[in-house]
Symmetry: C2
Subunit: 203 residues, 2 copies
């Protein structure tokens, strides 16, 4: 089955929209999703921005909240803008690296996004993440301890560097096996169609 | 018939995508389009940017060119990135103000965008604009002379100030009669659906 990489930051509002629908759309398109949590912060820093563009440009930030509220309503999803915004996503991303390795990244991603954008939980709080981990049948104490290890820290740093190397400048970003890059929840259908076609090419 | 305002800058690549399809989609939705040419430059300046975000962030600019090329191909449209980018759209916008007043703005808008993004013409050159004007059966010498009048200059300045006042931060932007703002070619269908619904509300 052809694979599509889904690159996202746990603080990203538009990534929430994609995470909550990507599995259903991917199944319909015959595509497998490879979850790639990363940190947007270093990428924004390299662009000379010290926080989210939605904070630096409040008019755009206000529009984003309205845009997502409209889309979320159409999709039957709850949505609120976290406070503070953007949420501090480092802990979630580190645990995402573990979940990816152990094969429970899809469910973990949905649990964290749901807690953050629907449940109004603070994803920087270890309790929030522990609850998500426990809800998936894993041992929160063990997983949280591992999140502080040098190996996990370093894996996440490499992941975020890889994102920059691939030309990623925002989230969500979808990358096909032949290196085609699609940015934004509104390009998810296009990314899946592109990826599905790879499989149908003559051998 | 409910109206939808279509705010655009003649240098805007995503506005090109919208201009070439908006009439067909609007007719299908039972919506009338009110063309609102304006200048993005002053809005970017107010954000602290001295040119297009696609120039300031070359990685994003490169992505934009690829994103539009993919979409244009799907829609059977030609597309190239003008040189220099962004094009200098002041003259086209001033004549847009005249065309809007005289009722030939839709056709003029398509002619200019087609010349710029398909025909590789420089829209800052009076010859390019004169050709578009003549192609629509108007007298280029007369129209170009009027474009230099204080009345037209001032009307365009007011228009661009009005854009900022409405919370516009990019182009294309669509605004419904009840003040709902949609940004980007990828929100055109949503804007038309929203606007069409206004007409169906109980009186």
């Amino acid at each position: 089955m052809p694979k599509l990489e889904f690159w996202y930051d746990f603080a990203s509002t538009y990534s929430y929209l994609s995470a909550m629908r990507i599995e259903a759309l991917a199944a319909a398109a015959g595509v497998e999703i490879a979850y790639r949590p990363f940190l947007l912060g270093p990428i924004f820093k390299a662009q000379g921005l010290d926080t989210s563009p939605f904070v630096l440009n409040p008019v755009k930030g206000e529009y984003m909240a309205r845009d997502i509220a409209r889309i979320a309503t159409n999709r039957g999803l709850a949505f609120h803008v976290p406070e503070p915004f953007p949420a501090h996503s480092l802990l979630a991303a580190r645990i995402g690296m573990i979940a990816e390795e152990e094969g429970w990244i899809g469910a973990f991603t949905r649990a964290v996004f749901d807690a953050e954008f629907a449940g109004r939980a603070n994803i920087a709080a270890p309790e929030t993440i522990a609850q998500a981990v426990a809800g998936l049948g894993h041992d929160p104490a063990q997983v949280l301890a591992r999140a502080g290890s040098d190996a996990v820290k370093s894996a996440l740093r490499s992941r975020s560097e890889a994102a920059a190397g691939k030309g990623i400048f925002g989230a969500p970003t979808f990358i096909s096996e032949d290196g085609e890059l699609f940015w934004g929840d509104d390009r998810l259908e296009q990314a899946l169609a592109w990826t599905g076609r790879i499989d149908n090419r003559p051998g």
